[in-house]
Amino acid sequence: MSDADALFRTVNLTKVYSDGSVNALVDANVLIPRGQYVAVMGPSGSGKSTLLNLLGALDRPTSGEVFFQCQPLSAMRDLDHFRARQLGFVFQSFYLLPTLTAAENVQIPMFEIGIRAAERARRAAELLELVGMSHRAGHLPRQLSVGERQRVAIARALANRPIVLLADEPTGNLDSHNAAQVLELFERLHQQQMTVVVVTHSPEVASRAQRIIRLRDGKVIDDSPGFSTC
């Protein structure tokens, strides 16, 4: 695989937290091609969320570099714009705004890309349809089940048509039925050529990915194909 195919490439990526005592990530070299479905696994404290945060420009590495489409993130002037336009984030706790309806929550990222209110509403309706939540568009988060909330959060992550979906323990708060629905959704997105990076400690979740990157004590200890391919 050449660098030209890489969506993300990390070079000697290291993150040491401010007191200097915790090496969250040590010399990680990872290449993620466009369109791949990748799972990042490891026990708690292994550095998997740190890797995801660095890929998503939420944090700065202590040393090393993250390249996105061959461009170093450290040289990017507007990382907010990069996150808003290229990335979609899904978190374990969905953090939908409680006073906004599902449709309104989906529109929140769209404020940053300068589209009109009517277009925001139209696009939110499309996304809720995509995640099977159009019938709940007018409901508040407290009126939704946890699985439904996560599907709305996924629709929110897709609001600005990103090319990568970064998910941190997306099924961590879900029962097996809802987790399966979310994973099916990820597979459908992957089939539509979206790059998906999922951080998980669940073998079941990782088994859906094309590739599994295993971390321990901040180091990449294994980088192999998953149990099945999509």
Binding site: L58, D80, L97, A103, E104, P109
Partner: protein
Amino acid sequence: MHFGTLIFKNLLRRPVRSLLTATGVALAVGAVVALLGVARGFEDSLLQVLQVHDVDIVVTRAGKTDRMTSVLDERWGQLLAGLPGVEAVTGALMDVVDFRDANLIGVFIQGWPSDSFLFDQLPLRSGRRLHPGDRQCVLLGAKLAEILQKTAGDTVQIEMHPFRVVGVYESYSLYENRSAIMPLEDFQRLMDRQGQVMAFHVKVSPGPEKAAAVETVCRHIENLSDQQGRRLPLEARPAYDYVKSTLQIRQVQAMAWVTSVIALVIGAVGMLNTMIMSVFERTHEIGILRAIGWRKGRIVRMILGESLLLCLAGATLGTLAAVAGVYWLSGLPAVAGLVQGKISPVVIGQGYAIAVLVGLAGGLYPACRGAWLSPTEAIRHE
């Protein structure tokens, strides 16, 4: 959904807290609007009195900060009348008396010569104006007559002396409607100030350059000398400047502004507390918003928007309460005529400006604090 909808709905998350904060701002703005409104109304009313009577210049004793203590020799009025550009001059004595039986305090009594030009613009509701030779007579303003329940022909006790009410006038000025006018000689004797007046009211001859003529006459008055060549201790001011520099008005305004500043500080501290709490509770959520690409500026706009919206809601509540309160106050017999029932739009504008300042002062720090949170630290926050 519009960005404003998001801001509005964020405030509904803690409706009781939002309501209490808006109420705090309402109290602060209401106090400011009411106090400034009363002060402004008092000033407007006094200016209106002078304008209605065609008074262009008010002459008082030089160096007196409190014009009520100004003492001038009544005979100097003849010197003023002889100056070029002066059409008419009248001496006036003023003091404040109480009508304790009617629970009325601070009623202005004026002593005017019976031939004063000031009577020309004093519409009578009943009775007649003062005539030369009238003694122990008084004209009552309509509001005062109503409160005292007196009419032409009745007798009223002033400073323990009986005065016959010869007429009731209805001025355009609330302030004048709550006062009384008696012959200058009577009032001088009553106040033991024979031969003295407090001020001279000067009417300048009409002409195309009235403002310049007023300034010229003021200079001439201040340069007047007695027969020994000593300059007379006179201070002449155009009517507007006189009202603006009146000690009582300056004191009322100063008190109103001091209260306003205190209200501003209290309001801003309350707002600061509310918004800091709000940002603290939403730290995780703000991290999520930063993660999905919201810029710092948008976070600042959202939090400042919430703060400003709360303040504007508070300002609206406070202004409505102040308008209603001042209207109610103006109807009370004890202060009727002193307090105008209307509040100037300029004062309401000042109230809203203060609310915006409270919103900015109380919201800026929490907004910046929220915006500059590291997304990862904010997301980890519990």
